[in-house]
């Protein structure tokens, strides 16, 4: 059998993202003042904080393959943190508190999914509404104040979520990689993954083949909700506090991560390896901006440019695919 042109592009795409990542890391190492990027303290911070974003980006990538968006992930993170810290503060067993937080996250995802598929509100708009709703709710409930809780009393719990493996690798990295592997199997090796792709690629064809595209989308929203809640637990345990502005701007960074990783803005195309690498790219850029001591507004401009560039590149790749079709 001859080689196939299209899968080659797909593979090529991931290698491309890997190259971008390596160039970025090298650039960051050389260009940040006093090379702070590669200093141990910064790398530790990056590896502990980055996965909080990365885990959410993985879910957003899966959701985008199904053809939908969730712009409320940052707000879900803030709300999740508040819920978790409130439950813990109420004296509930910390593991049960974590479990309840995750279940609530899944419930929020279910709500998002139902609103999108049953009420037929475009997810971009629906989740924009939820972004404001959940953020507003978090602010109302905290009255704008920082809520804190001492997690140190739960030594094992803290170790599981924010400790270090072998004194080197932060637990968060392990969780991030673990979720990426699980979602890789879901997306690429399981039946449900094929349904996600089919739903995003041609929902009509999928429905005709008796795939419940509504259910597929709802489950994808639930995956995002779960991962936001999980990330909220990681973050809250690390900081021992919840701030109302946690996760602001992450909704677009997550879309950027997925798109950089080769996920189509129109659904049906993308890969878990790509999204994983894309998330790393965004984490590094975010960290670079902090290390270069640029004002935070710079990150908006930077991620804006990244999204546009990746979308343009995607357009070019789609054209290549069409051309290969002839």
């Amino acid at each position: 059998m001859e080689s196939q042109p299209i899968p080659f592009f797909v593979r090529f795409r991931n290698i491309g993202v890997l190259v971008v990542l390596i160039v970025l890391v090298a650039g960051a190492a050389l260009l940040t003042p006093q090379n702070t990027f590669i200093q141990e303290a910064n790398l530790k911070t990056l590896l502990a904080l980055g996965p909080e974003f990365g885990i959410i980006a993985l879910g957003v990538g899966v959701l985008m393959v199904s053809g939908e968006f969730d712009l409320s992930v940052g707000s879900q993170l803030a709300l999740g943190s508040l819920i978790f810290i409130s439950l813990a503060g109420a004296g509930i067993n910390i593991y049960i508190a974590a479990l309840l937080t995750c279940l609530l996250g899944v419930g929020i995802g279910l709500l998002h999914g139902l609103v999108v598929v049953k009420a037929r509100i475009v997810s971009f708009i629906a989740t924009l509404g939820f972004m404001l709703t959940w953020r507003g709710l978090t602010e109302i409930l905290t009255a704008g104040k920082v809520r804190s809780y001492e997690f140190v009393q739960h030594e094992t719990f803290v170790q599981i979520f924010t400790g270090r493996v072998g004194d080197v690798v932060p637990s968060q990295v392990i969780w991030f990689v673990l979720f990426a592997i699980v979602l890789y199997f879901v997306l690429h090796r399981g039946r449900f993954g094929n349904w996600i792709y089919a739903t995003g690629d041609n929902a009509q064809a999928a429905r005709a083949m008796a795939i419940d595209t509504h259910l597929v989308k709802i489950v994808c929203f639930m995956i995002v909700g779960f991962l936001c809640a999980f990330s909220a637990i990681l973050q809250t345990t690390r900081t021992s506090a919840v701030t109302t502005h946690a996760g602001t701007g992450w909704e677009l960074q997550a879309v950027a991560a997925a798109v950089v990783g080769g996920t189509s803005l129109r659904g049906g195309r993308g890969s878990m390896i790509g999204v994983f690498l894309g998330a790393l790219v965004i984490m590094v850029i975010d960290n670079m901006i902090v290390q270069a001591r640029l004002p935070y507004e710079w990150s908006y401009a930077a991620f804006g440019v990244v999204i546009l560039a990746a979308a343009l590149l995607d357009l070019g790749i789609e054209k290549q695919i069409q051309r290969a079709a002839v």
């Binding site: 196939q4 039946r191 094929n194 792709y197 089919a198 041609n202 008796a210 695919i321």
Partner: protein, 291 residues
Amino acid sequence: MEGSAQVPANDEEELFDTGSLPCVSERAAAEEAAPTNGQVLLKMVNIHKWFGRVHALRGVNFTVHRGEVVGLCGDNGAGKSTLIKVASGYHTADEGQIFFEGREVKLRSPKDARALGIETVYQEQALCPHLSIARNIFMGREPTTLLGLIDQRTMNKESMEALASMGLRLRSPHALVSALSGGQRQGVAIARAIHFKAKLVILDEPTIALSVKEVREVLDFVRHLRDQGVAVVFITHTLHHVFSVADRIVVLAHGCNLVDVRTKDTDVDELSDIIARGTLGDAVPTTQHAR
């Protein structure tokens, strides 16, 4: 309104109203479609379908026999797609009965129709362009290994076999559907039906936007299906395409039956005339119903 005034007095039994009111339902329901061979496989009686205020099907009768190729024709908006979407469980009829292999069936979803052996290749692209050939053929029915993961090897092997059985040689089961020609895509969609042992395959405008060579390919696929004893409903509004393969031709107009005739009892000119006049609404078919 159109046409109903011109109904001739003779041979009243045989006529179908082409007007905008419901087709003459009791009479239409009593009609037996012209068998070309074998027993009745699918029988749809007095089917009505509304989309809001649009009365898309107004009491249509439609019968397909085992191993028969039926051409379903009519102008744009006549209700062809809607009728076959009812037959494939995509839409549910607002009124009417459906019989499959002699038993009345309720088709609530595409799943129900597939379970009976009705496979449909839709006009609006039956495939996912960015997925591989194998994943398209097995879409929604992916075989799994003991671990619950997709059995890619079985999928690859069986999809290539199904394609080869239709004389379609494609490079690899991993190739994306977007890399295929229009004719090859129809082939993949039909291979899916063959692999899952369909008794009835419905093709909605399979030759639309295809080159002459690709049309010939698709017509070959249809003959192939018939040779394997599979019944085919072939929708087109290009009569020439359907004439070379169909045993029988059914024409719809404005959501009603207009013609039901054996291909050998008519010719392209006569039928195009009827279709044209039927839609103009100033005439009544001469060849209404073959017995």
